[in-house]
């Protein structure tokens, strides 16, 4: 049974009376423990798709099943990391990362000690009591990811988690992300603009067209894991990259 | 006739009185224009100031600023009252009273009839609404003790800018008013008041209020100017004494914001009281000045006794 199953999802916004067709019959699914990427041009509707999964937006048409069920509160199945890091500036890093876990009513002290243990993995040791404003961009992203992972839901929805980082930091963070994923075994649904990143991380990649978004390519990435950075120059990698570039018409 | 020597001048004259020859004068009132000031408005409206070569601006005052402003010459004349002039002179503010607008003190303590304050000692255990004058407490003390009352039992409240009627609406039992304005308004409203006139409670308190003032400097430098001003002003008040209704209408014409009924009734009350028992309008009696200043000094309201002869003068009154 798929963790996330969306069928024929369609959404049109109306802005000041003007209709804006954003999603046009999108069908995607994410299986247990799988890493799936979604790639598409800016403004095509990727964040809207995530909002639909989370129940923040209702689709005009189509079906959304979470863990095989209709109508479950999204928060019980998915853990969402939006495009911005959205750390609460008035809470310390420690209090931020336990936010999702506290929502389900866990005891504070227990959650805190659990978070403390994971600080090294997320490279935040020593910053437990710092406020977000005191962190670098990369550290903020790691804290936001930690908050998402710590929710311990079956699926992580990551909306361009590395988008704000420079290319070099980003490459390092990709490898680290795979390590974290390996550790927690949650399914990941991952939005990105970056072709290399999508292939490097994923088991499968969906490519969307520009607005209104349709799935124009669905690709399995059968590259072996664990993956190292130099994989991006491997011929098998490049074949996939060419295919995606063609689908996105950037040649 | 003067000014007929040049044809250009004549042209001007045919269209309007030649304002270039008129000397500007500023008179600062003590309060909003009211029937105390009728004479000033009449004199201006009838052109008597212009006849003396004066162009008079009547300005409404700053809170407590009139005396200083007259002393510094920012206004040539002002409306004040004897207590204020005495205070000012004791603080070395060089102003001089040049006319008593009303011969006797028409102010006093007013309260609603049902409070039952018909004698000064009944002010005990009542709440008094004051306005921040330094002498209020002494006056109250004096008039109550004259009547065998205990001043210590009066509660004093500063009612600031609120008027008598709003004040007595809930928090105040009696206040100090001018009968000629507030008392008349009460009559208009059909409100029954007990009114204790100050001059009857304590003879020393029959002081002049209001008075016209000017500065020592002006009297020294330009007595003719003061004389001209006073000649026209006296004419104005004489007119108001003889023709209360006409005078009231002139005031209303100049200050249309006022309440017509109130002005008419007030003027009828006040007109006979301008001159009252005096030989001429404006007359000031040295005894009144000496008596009141002495009283104030006794009651420690003055840092030092003043020379009352310098505080007022009758020399600018006509005849």
């Amino acid at each position: 049974m798929a963790e996330i199953f969306m069928e024929d999802v369609t959404k049109t916004f109306s802005v000041n009376g003007v209709l804006l067709s954003v999603l046009d019959g999108v069908t995607v699914q994410v299986e247990e423990g799988e890493f799936v990427s979604l790639i598409g041009p800016s403004g095509c509707g990727k964040s809207t798709l995530f909002n639909i999964i989370c129940g923040l937006t209702t689709p005009d048409r189509g079906r959304v099943l979470l863990g095989g069920h209709d109508n479950v509160p999204a928060g019980e199945v998915v853990s969402y990391m939006p495009q911005k890091d959205l750390l609460l500036p008035w809470r310390t890093v420690l209090d931020n990362v336990i936010l999702a876990r506290r929502a389900v009513g866990r005891e504070r002290a227990a959650v805190q000690s659990e978070a403390r243990e994971l600080m090294p993995l997320f490279g935040l040791t020593g910053f437990e009591n710092s406020y977000p404003a005191e962190l670098s961009g990369g550290m903020r992203q790691r804290a936001a990811l930690m908050r998402t992972v710590l929710a311990r839901q079956r699926v992580l929805l990551l909306d361009e988690p590395l988008g704000a980082l420079d290319a070099i930091t980003r490459t390092r963070m990709q490898q680290w992300l795979l390590k974290v994923w390996n550790n927690f075994k949650q399914a990941v649904f991952f939005v990105t603009h970056d072709i290399d990143e999508a292939i490097f991380l994923s088991d499968r990649v969906y490519v969307l067209t520009s607005r209104p978004a349709k799935v124009c390519l669905h690709l399995s990435v059968s590259l072996p894991r664990p993956r190292r950075a130099k994989l991006v120059t491997a011929p098998s990698f490049l074949a996939l990259k060419k295919e995606i570039m063609r689908a996105l018409q950037v040649q | 006739s003067p000014g007929s020597d040049s044809p250009g001048n004549q042209n001007d004259r045919s269209s309007a009185p030649d304002s270039r020859e008129l000397q500007p004068v500023t008179v600062m009132l003590d309060w909003t224009p009211n029937t105390n000031h009728t004479g000033l408005y009449v004199a201006r409206d009838k052109g008597w100031y212009a006849d003396e070569g004066l162009q008079v601006d009547i300005v409404e005052p700053t809170e407590g600023g009139t005396t200083q402003l007259v002393a510094t010459g920012k206004a040539q004349f002002g409306v004040s009252y004897q207590e204020d002039v005495t205070q000012a002179r004791a603080s070395d503010v060089p102003v001089v009273s040049i006319a008593a607008v009303i011969q006797h003190n028409t102010s006093g303590f007013a309260s609603l009839k049902d409070k039952g304050i018909t004698r000064a000692h009944q002010m005990e255990n009542k709440r008094y609404g004051g306005w921040g004058s330094p002498s209020e407490e002494a006056v109250l003390k004096a008039v109550m003790e004259n009547d065998g009352g205990d001043f210590g039992k009066v509660q004093i409240l500063n009612i600031g800018s609120a008027d008598f009627f709003t004040a007595v609406e809930r928090d105040v039992d009696f206040a100090w008013i001018y009968y000629g304005w507030t008392g008349i308004e009460a009559e208009q409203r059909g409100l029954k008041l007990n009114f204790l006139e100050l001059s009857e409670l304590e003879p020393a308190l029959d002081y002049y209020t209001p008075v016209l003032i000017t500065s020592e400097q002006l009297i020294k430098d330009n007595p003719e100017f003061v004389e001209k001003f006073m000649r026209a002003t006296a004419k104005g008040y004489e007119y108001a004494i003889k023709q209360p209704d006409e005078a009231a209408r002139i005031l209303l014409k100049n200050v249309p914001e006022l309440n017509e009924q109130l002005v008419l009734a007030s003027q009828r009350y006040l007109s006979p009281r301008y001159r009252d028992d005096a030989a001429r309008w404006g007359e000031q009696n040295p005894q009144v000045w000496e008596r009141y200043a002495g009283w104030m000094y006794q009651h420690k309201l003055l840092p030092k006794m003043i020379d009352t002869k310098k505080a007022f003068t009758n020399e600018f009154l006509s005849e």
Binding site: Y131, P132 | Q87, S161
Partner: protein, 264 residues
């Protein structure tokens, strides 16, 4: 990543006091010298030295009057904050309510308080209440404006995120909207605090038994301008005191806002 809300930060009065003290000294010197050289009469503008002298002499009396005024100012400020909280919460409920109330609040600021003074007396009498009301009227506007703007500045996506996590509507208000409004709230409160003492003095001028306003009225009527100015100095000091206390509270309530960004 730049400092959160950097643009909103109020100019911090406590940052560097020396230039201000220098200017103040220059102003005082000019005052004293001006009065002496131009031979200005004490009933028009007393010399600073005379004012300070009087201030020293009258200190016990001034202290007593200041107590009433301070009490009114602080109570009024607290009332203003209360009213502002209620109004801001109301206006946060729906944009229509905001669009309905907000312009009326702006309009209400154009009415000169002194002209409706008699109503105040009738409604609230002569106790501490009318002064508290005047202070609250003077102070609530900056507080409510800053609160509304602060609450609006809360990130919608942050609210959504917490909703997805499973937090309730009220928990989200407590966790996000309220803290997000704090910096703006304190900025408004500082402005309000600066005006609160002046409000109390105006309130006393409407009628009072005690307080710096009463003291000033009496001194004015007795031509003791040195006392008036001594009272003004006290008003300034008390205002600064209130400002400093608010600044302190802001630091206590928002450590995250004042902490400096560390490099990683």
């Amino acid at each position: 990543m730049s400092r959160l809300n950097q643009a909103d930060r109020p100019v911090n009065m406590g940052d560097k006091l020396w230039p201000a003290l220098f200017c103040l000294l220059a102003f005082f010197l000019a005052w004293e010298a001006g009065v002496r050289l131009l031979d200005i009469k004490p009933y028009i503008l007393p010399a600073l030295s005379q004012v300070l002298n009087t201030l020293g002499d009258m200190l016990p009396l001034l202290a007593r009057h200041s107590q009433s005024t301070l009490l009114e100012a602080v109570t009024g400020l607290a009332a203003a904050v209360g009213v502002a909280l209620v109004l801001a919460a109301l206006m946060d409920l729906h944009p229509w309510i905001r669009q309905g109330i907000y312009p009326l609040l702006v309009v209400s600021q154009t009415v000169p308080i002194i002209s409706i003074a008699p109503l105040f007396i009738i409604w609230f009498g002569y106790g501490i209440l009318p002064k508290v009301v005047v202070v609250a009227l003077v102070c609530f506007f900056p507080v409510v404006v800053s609160l509304v703007e602060g609450m609006q500045s809360a990130d919608c996506d942050m609210v959504n995120l917490l909703r997805v996590m499973g937090y309730s509507r009220w928990q989200v208000i407590r966790l996000v909207r309220f803290p997000a409004a704090l910096p703006s709230f304190f900025a408004g409160l500082k402005i309000a605090g600066t005006y609160s003492v002046m409000g109390a003095v105006i309130g006393e001028w409407l009628g009072a038994v005690n307080g710096l306003g009463v003291f000033m009225t009496r001194a004015t009527h007795a031509y003791q301008l040195d006392r008036v100015f001594a009272a003004i100095l006290i008003i300034i000091l008390v205002s600064l005191l209130i400002y400093a206390v608010i600044e302190l509270l802001a630091h206590l309530a928002m450590p995250w806002y004042y902490n400096e960004r560390r490099d990683d």
